[in-house]
C-alpha cells in the first residue's frame, strides 16, 4: 500500500470502529471490546508505518476535491510532515493504552459500549486534525473532538458535577471556536486557499493583509482548545469525567490539538509580532498561575489537570519564541508521561477509594497496594518535574534553551521580549512544578494512619499499560533529542548548559523545600482525622471514582479544596492557598461578568414574553371568547328549540324575499 492509503486508513479505522460500536453495542455486546481496542491498535501500527516511511523527509501531500464548493475550494487533503507523523504515533499510542485500560476500568459499566465508541471517535477526530492538509477538514476534526469531549466528560451524568462540567467544557471551547472559525475564513480569504501548504506559501511571499487580526482570532480558538488562560477554566472541572478520558483529553487529543495547530501554522503567527507577544504573555500567565493552583488542589486529578495547563503553557511558550520543534518535542514527551500520570491516578483512586490527597495522606501502605502505579507514577512525576535523565527534562530544557536563545538575540524571527517572558515564567514554573509533583507523591504514597482499604488486585489491563507508557516517559527524551531535529525543522533540541543547570537546580530546590514543608506538617496529620472513603470491593474502578467525585463536595465543603492543616502546599503558599485552590476565583469573575448578565437578560426576555407579549395575545382573544360564551348559551340541547329557530329564520327570509319581489 502507498503511504497515502495507509495515512487515510489511520483516522478512518477508529471512525469505523466507533460507528460499528455504536450500532452493535446493544445487539452484540461481545464485539464491543474488540471493536474498541483493535481499530485503535491497528491505526497505531499504521501510524508507526507512515512515520517510518515518511522518515522526516519531504512532506507527503495528497489532495482530492469531492465537489466544487464555490469561491475558495475545500479539498480532502493530507499533509504529513515529521510533526504530523510523530504526533499521530503518540495519539495512537495513548488512545490504544486508554482503550485497553478502559476495558478494565469500566468493566461493569452499563454504558461502556457508547463510551468506547466515543473514545474511538475522539481518537479518529484527533488523527484527522493531525493528518489533515486542509483547514476546513481540520476544523471538522476539531469540532468532533469538542462534541466527544462533551459526551465523555459527562459520562457520569448522574452526578451534577459531571453534567455541569460537560456543559462548561463544551461552551468554553465553543467560545474560542467562533473567533477561530472567523479567523480561518479571514486566513483563507487572504491566502486564497484552505490548503495548509498554499497558506504557508502565501505567508512566505508576504501575502497576508491582516496577519495580527488573523493570528489573534485563531489564538482564541487555540486558547479554548488547549486550555490556555483565560479560557482554561473548563479543564480542571473536566476531571468529573472518567480517568481514562482525562488521560486521553490531556495527553494526546483535544488540548494537544491547539498547540499542534499553532505548530502547523507557525509562520502565520510569526508574521505578527503582536500575536507572538500575546502568545508569550498568555503562556507565562498560564504556566505560573496553573502551577500555583496545582499546589493547592486536593483532588489528585485536579492537580494533574492544572499541571497539564502548565505544561501546555510551556508548549505555547516555545511557540511564542518561534520554535515549533521544541513545542512538539514537549508535546510528545508530555503526552507520554501525562497519560501515565492520569492512568496511574485512576488506579490509585480505585485502590484508595477517594480522590482526595488529604484522605490519602492519612492512609498507610497505599503504595504496597498498588506497586505498579507507585513505580510508574514516580517515573512520570520525575519526568514532570524535569529531573534528568527522564524525558520531561530534555523537552523542557529544549523549550527553555530556545527561550534563552531568543533572549540572547541569536534569532530574528521572535521578539526578545517574548523570550524574556517565557524564560522567566518557565523557570518560575519549574520550581512550582517540582513542588507540586513532590507534594502529590508525598501525600499519596507516604501517608500514615489507618490501613488503606483493600480493593483486591488491580486488573491486568490497567497495570500493563502503565509500564508500556513508563518506557517513553523514562527514555524518550534522552534518545529523541538527537534524532528529532531531522524530523522537525532541523534546529538543535539538545539541552544547553545554562538553562539545564538553572532548571534542574530550581526543580531540585522546589522538591526539597516541599519535602521540608511536608516533614514539618506531617506530624499534624495524625492529630486531625479527615477523609471519606467509598469502598466497593466488588465494583469496578469507575464506580469508585464516580462516588469519590460526587462525595468530595459534601465531605470537604468544596470540589477542589480540603480543610487540611497537614498539607505542605498550605504552608508553602501561605495566604495564597485559598485563592489558588479556587483557581484564583476566575470562575467567580466569569460568573459575575458573563453568567449573571446572561441570566438577567434571560429573565428579562422571560418577563417580556410572559407578561407583555402574552398580554396582547390574551387581549386579542378576549372578544371572540366572550362572543363564543354568549352564542354557546343558545345551545340548549332541546331539538325543538333549534327547529323553532330554524322556522323563524325561514319565515323571516321568506317575508324578506316576498317584500323584495313585490318591490315594497
Amino acid at each position: 500500500m502507498t503511504t497515502t492509503t495507509l495515512a487515510v486508513l489511520v483516522p478512518l479505522l477508529p471512525f469505523l470502529g466507533a460507528a460499528a460500536g455504536l450500532l452493535l453495542g446493544r445487539t452484540a455486546p461481545g464485539f464491543v471490546r474488540p471493536l474498541a481496542v483493535l481499530p485503535t491498535l491497528t491505526s497505531l501500527v499504521l501510524a508507526a508505518l507512515v512515520a517510518a516511511r515518511q522518515g522526516g523527509d519531504t512532506a507527503v501531500n495528497a489532495a482530492t476535491e469531492l465537489t466544487p464548493t464555490g469561491s475558495v475550494p475545500i479539498e480532502l487533503a493530507l499533509h504529513i510532515d515529521g510533526f504530523a507523523a510523530l504526533v499521530a504515533v503518540l495519539v495512537g499510542l495513548v488512545a490504544s493504552c486508554v482503550q485497553i485500560y478502559s476495558t478494565g476500568y469500566l468493566r461493569d459499566d452499563p454504558r461502556y459500549p457508547s463510551y468506547a465508541a466515543l473514545v474511538s471517535l475522539f481518537t479518529s477526530a484527533m488523527l484527522l486534525v493531525v493528518y489533515s492538509g486542509d483547514l476546513i477538514v481540520l476544523l471538522v476534526g476539531w469540532e468532533v473532538m469538542g462534541i466527544c469531549s462533551y459526551f465523555l466528560v459527562g459520562h457520569y451524568w448522574e452526578t451534577p458535577e459531571a453534567r455541569a462540567a460537560s456543559l462548561k467544557a463544551f461552551l468554553v471551547t465553543k467560545l474560542g471556536d467562533v473567533p477561530f472559525l472567523i479567523g480561518l475564513f479571514a486566513l483563507a480569504t487572504d491566502a486564497g486557499s484552505f490548503r495548509i501548504t498554499k497558506v504557508l506559501g502565501a505567508v512566505a511571499s508576504g501575502g497576508l493583509d491582516h496577519p495580527t487580526l488573523i493570528a489573534l482570532l485563531l489564538l482564541a480558538g487555540v486558547a479554548g482548545k488547549s486550555a490556555q488562560f483565560p479560557l482554561h477554566t473548563w479543564l480542571p472541572d473536566a476531571m468529573a469525567g472518567p480517568t481514562p478520558v482525562s488521560a486521553l483529553i490531556h495527553a494526546a487529543t483535544m488540548v494537544a490539538a491547539g498547540v499542534y495547530f499553532i505548530a502547523r501554522l507557525l509562520p502565520v503567527f510569526e508574521a505578527s509580532q503582536a500575536a507572538m507577544i500575546v502568545l508569550a504573555v498568555m503562556a507565562a500567565v498560564t504556566m505560573a498561575g496553573s502551577a500555583l493552583a496545582a499546589l493547592a488542589q486536593d483532588d489528585i486529578k485536579r492537580v494533574l489537570a492544572y499541571s497539564t495547563i502548565g505544561q501546555l503553557g510551556y508548549m505555547t511558550g516555545a511557540l511564542a519564541v518561534g520554535d515549533r520543534g521544541a513545542a512538539v518535542f514537549h508535546l510528545l514527551s508530555h503526552g507520554a508521561f501525562k497519560a501515565l500520570l492520569f492512568l496511574a491516578a485512576g488506579v490509585i483512586i480505585h485502590a484508595a477509594g477517594t480522590n482526595s490527597l488529604a484522605a490519602m495522606s492519612r492512609m498507610r501502605n497505599l503504595r504496597d497496594r498498588v506497586p505498579d502505579a507507585f513505580w510508574t507514577m514516580t517515573v512520570a512525576l520525575l519526568a514532570l518535574a524535569a529531573i534528568p535523565p527522564f524525558s520531561g527534562f530534555f523537552s523542557k530544557e529544549a523549550v527553555l534553551g530556545v527561550a534563552e536563545h531568543v533572549v540572547t538575540g541569536h534569532t530574528e524571527h521572535a521578539p526578545a521580549a517574548a523570550g524574556w517572558i517565557v524564560l522567566v515564567a518557565g523557570l518560575l514554573t519549574a520550581v512550582l512544578t517540582a513542588a507540586y509533583a513532590m507534594r502529590l507523591w508525598l501525600l499519596a504514597f507516604r501517608g500514615r494512619g489507618a490501613e488503606a482499604p483493600d480493593h483486591g488486585r488491580q486488573p491486568l489491563t490497567m497495570t500493563v499499560v502503565l509500564w508500556v507508557l513508563a518506557i517513553p516517559s523514562l527514555a524518550l527524551g534522552g534518545f529523541a533529542f538527537r534524532v528529532l531535529p531531522d524530523w522537525f525543522d532541523g534546529r538543535d533540541l539538545g539541552p544547553t548548559l545554562t538553562t539545564s543547570v538553572l532548571g534542574t537546580g530550581l526543580a531540585l530546590a522546589g522538591g526539597i523545600v516541599t519535602y521540608g514543608a511536608w516533614r514539618h506538617t506531617t506530624a499534624l496529620a495524625a492529630r486531625i482525622p479527615l477523609g471519606a472513603v467509598s469502598a466497593h470491593p466488588e465494583g469496578d474502578a469507575a464506580q469508585v471514582e464516580a462516588e469519590a467525585i460526587a462525595t468530595h463536595e459534601p465531605a470537604y465543603g468544596d470540589i477542589a479544596y480540603a480543610p487540611d492543616p497537614a498539607d505542605p502546599g498550605r504552608l508553602l503558599l501561605g495566604p495564597l492557598h485559598r485563592p489558588a485552590a479556587a483557581g484564583f476565583h476566575l470562575d467567580a469573575v466569569y460568573t459575575a461578568l458573563f453568567v449573571r448578565p446572561v441570566q438577567a437578560g434571560a429573565s428579562l426576555v422571560r418577563f417580556l414574553d410572559r407578561e407583555v407579549v402574552e398580554t396582547y395575545v390574551r387581549g386579542a382573544g378576549a372578544l371572540p371568547r366572550w362572543l363564543g360564551t354568549v352564542v354557546r348559551r343558545a345551545q340548549t340541547g332541546n331539538v325543538q328549540t333549534y327547529v323553532s329557530a330554524l322556522l323563524a329564520g325561514t319565515v323571516v327570509l321568506a317575508v324578506a324575499v316576498v317584500l323584495v319581489a313585490t318591490g315594497a
Binding site: 354557546r632 340541547g637 325543538q640 323553532s644 322556522l647
Partner: protein, 132 residues
C-alpha cells in the same frame, strides 16, 4: 275540483304537523307530526301536478313521480326514526325529548377557559380518553 281545496287542506295539515314537531314532547308523536308535514307536501305535489297537466299538451306527471319518491323516503325515515326512539327508550327509559339534552352546552363555572384547562391538565384529558 278547484285547486283551493287541496291547497287549503295541505296548508292545514302542514301547520298541524309543524305544531306537533315544535310542541309535542313524545318523540313518537314528533315523528308522526313529521309524517303529517310530509303528507301535506305530497298532497300539494299531486294537486298541482293535476292542475298543471290540464293546461299542458303533454306531461310527464313529474309531480306524481316525485310524490312516489317522497313516500319511499318517508317510509325509510320513519323506520329508522322509530328504531332510534326505541333504542333511546330502552336505554333511558323515556322518549321525552325535553329530557334528552345530551348535546347541550354544559354550564361550567369558568366556561371560556375550558380548552386551556384541559391542555394544562393532561391527566384529566387522559382520563376522559380512557372513559370514552
Amino acid at each position: 275540483m278547484h285547486l283551493a281545496y287541496p291547497a287549503v287542506l295541505s296548508a292545514l295539515l302542514f301547520c298541524t304537523g309543524l305544531y306537533g314537531v315544535l310542541a309535542r314532547r313524545n318523540a313518537i308523536l314528533v315523528l308522526m307530526s313529521v309524517e303529517l308535514m310530509l303528507n301535506a307536501v305530497n298532497l300539494n305535489l299531486v294537486a298541482f301536478d293535476v292542475w298543471l297537466s290540464k293546461a299542458a299538451e303533454e306531461t310527464l306527471h313529474s309531480g306524481q313521480a316525485l310524490t312516489l319518491f317522497t313516500i319511499a323516503i318517508a317510509a325509510a325515515e320513519i323506520g329508522i326514526g322509530l328504531a332510534i326512539v326505541l333504542a333511546v327508550h330502552r336505554n333511558r327509559g323515556t322518549a321525552d325529548i325535553d329530557k334528552l339534552r345530551d348535546t347541550s352546552e354544559r354550564h361550567d363555572p369558568d366556561g371560556p377557559d375550558s380548552d386551556a384547562r384541559t391542555a394544562e391538565q393532561p391527566g384529566e384529558a387522559q382520563k376522559a380518553e380512557a372513559t370514552a
